[in-house]
């Protein structure tokens, strides 16, 4: 797939929904280590709602559809990652208003806006062991790939790899935000739960495009 067209959006979100249905228990367990065990439920509910919204508004402008998916996500899954992911989707959608399909350049725009939206809303700094530590290299990698005019599948491969590396790097960090922050040094060694979600998202996009 060289581009994700408007008509493919429902399929992409169906895939995201499936991935997060499958990862439900794993994310519950992971969030249980430094948090309140709800992350699997949050993401499962959120992507169900997002998929539903995309399906319902498939005829809309692509950017508007993504924006609506974000709103639906935030409504369905209140909580830190629910609100952040919803915000990210909404901002990503806004950045794509008027586009007809998503190539490498559009993916870069989407993830940049997603990342910035999360940064603005969550006020975390890089290195604080949050989802931002994984979002940031995703956006940067896609922007570089766009500058080099890489194919969409090549770009997403690189971004997914960068996300995996960044996620691994969160293990060494000490949590500063949210429920994990109370663990202080105890949080070292465990990968960030929100970062894991970001990695799963970009990897799901990669799989959808390359399959």
């Amino acid at each position: 797939m060289d581009k994700v067209r408007k008509a493919d959006l429902v399929g992409l979100f169906a895939h995201l929904r499936d991935v997060f249905t499958e990862q439900r228990e794993a994310l519950i367990t992971l969030d249980g280590r430094l948090g309140d065990s709800d992350l699997g439920i949050t993401m499962n509910k959120g992507f169900n709602a997002a998929h539903g919204a995309v399906e319902a508004n498939a005829a809309d402008d692509l950017g508007k559809t993504l924006n609506g998916a974000g709103l639906a996500f935030a409504k369905a899954a209140p909580s830190t990652m629910g609100t952040l992911t919803g915000t990210g989707l909404m901002r990503g959608g806004k950045a794509l208003l008027g586009r007809e399909s998503l190539g490498t350049g559009e993916f870069a725009l989407f993830w940049r806006a997603f990342r910035d939206g999360v940064a603005e809303r969550g006020k975390a700094k890089l290195g604080d062991k949050t989802v931002l530590d994984v979002l940031d290299p995703i956006a940067a990698t896609l922007e570089a790939a766009a500058r080099e005019e890489a194919s969409l599948s090549a770009a997403l491969e690189l971004a997914a790899q960068a996300a995996a590396t960044a996620l691994d790097a969160t293990k060494a960090m000490k949590a500063q935000h949210g429920k994990a922050a109370v663990y202080q040094d105890g949080s070292i060694g465990v990968p960030d739960a929100g970062g894991t979600v970001a990695h799963l998202m970009i990897d799901a996009m990669r799989a959808f495009v390359t399959r």
Partner: protein
């Protein structure tokens, strides 16, 4: 898990149905969503006060929606934030033309929710200010107050701001009062047993048969010291230390005191504990102008309690003493 409930996933919504059934003259909801709770007695032209947060802490948060108190609360799942659009719908209803002040606890999920709701309100031309409660001295050291959790002491902020708004102060003045209340309030808690989140079905944490944990949060966040339960007076002394230190209370000062049960601790014990608090304050020459003893911010069945103290000036003393009335909190003058 021994709880009176039907299905765990209906816990919050059925609780809310019960609340609306019990208090139809005082509480209602908007946006066709029972989690968007507002007062049934809005006051035109008054600054609106809105709170919200996870369920499982009754009477927090919605219990303080009432006359002389707050105007609305966005209700989340058990220990879960409400959504931004719920907070926004409550904001809309609470706005009586004089703007809205958010007062809520310092939890990431809630901050995100209310920040996003404030943006949505702003887009509709509703002026919103925010104040985040962070009274729990056990949750971060002095100097890092912005990282501290909000716990039972938020009642003092509600009470002062609620009375200020009822007196007719404008939004900036109400914020000033709320900030003063916050700056002068400190809380410490101790837990003896865990709560159980209905959808989880087992204890959030385990603790030894004769242990206590000083400084534990109201969701079971780790505290600062776990050890054998000590006699009541010693527990109080350990908890009062940091509170009195940070408020640097001196002879002649006035305070309000809140002895808050976390859910599983009998009121008899709260009074045994208060006896010591009163003794220590009297010894220091600090006079207690207002005392609350009971359950004001709980963690379902958790056994334990917290002490909150607010230092009073004349204005705060007047506002704390003012009439207030909600289904969960009634106070006549005097």
């Amino acid at each position: 898990m021994k709880k009176f409930l039907n299905k765990a996933e209906d816990f919050v919504d059925e609780m809310l149905d019960g609340i609306y059934a019990a208090h139809p003259d005082k509480l209602r909801f908007v946006a066709d969503d029972r989690r968007c709770l507002v007062t049934a007695r809005p006051v035109s032209g008054k600054v609106g006060l809105v709170t919200g947060g996870g369920s499982g802490h009754l009477p927090l948060f919605l219990g303080y929606v009432g006359t002389g108190l707050l105007d609305g609360a966005a209700v989340g799942g058990v220990f879960q934030s409400p959504s931004a659009d719920q907070a926004f719908e409550v904001t809309r209803a609470a706005d009586q033309g004089a703007g809205v002040l958010y007062i809520y606890g310092n939890y990431t999920g809630d901050i995100l929710t209310f920040d996003m709701a404030a943006e949505m309100a702003d887009a509709e031309g509703i002026r919103v200010l925010s104040l985040v409660g962070n009274d729990d001295v056990a949750s971060s050291p002095a100097g890092e107050e912005h990282k501290r959790r909000g716990v039972a002491g938020i009642l003092f902020i509600y009470k002062a701001a609620g009375a200020a708004a009822a007196e007719g102060m404008n939004l900036d003045e109400v914020l000033r009062v709320a900030e003063k209340a916050r700056a002068n309030t400190r809380t410490m808690g101790v837990a003896l047993s865990s709560c159980i989140v209905p959808e989880v079905g087992r204890a959030t944490f385990s603790i030894g048969e004769s242990d206590m944990e000083i400084g534990m949060g109201i969701h079971g966040e780790p505290g600062i010291r776990r050890g054998p339960l000590r006699p009541a007076d010693e527990v109080v002394d350990e908890m009062l230390g940091p509170i009195l230190g940070e408020l640097s209370l001196a002879k002649g000062d006035s305070v309000a005191v809140l002895m808050n049960g976390l859910g599983g601790t009998p009121q008899e014990e709260l009074y045994i504990l208060y006896r010591r608090v009163a003794g220590v304050l009297a010894e220091r020459g600090v006079s207690v102008r207002k005392t609350y003893v009971g359950e004001f911010a709980t963690s379902m069945e958790m056994a334990g309690f917290s002490i909150s103290i607010m230092r009073l000036d004349d204005e705060l003393a007047r506002l704390v003493a003012a009439q207030a009335d909600s289904p969960f909190f009634a106070q006549h003058q005097g």
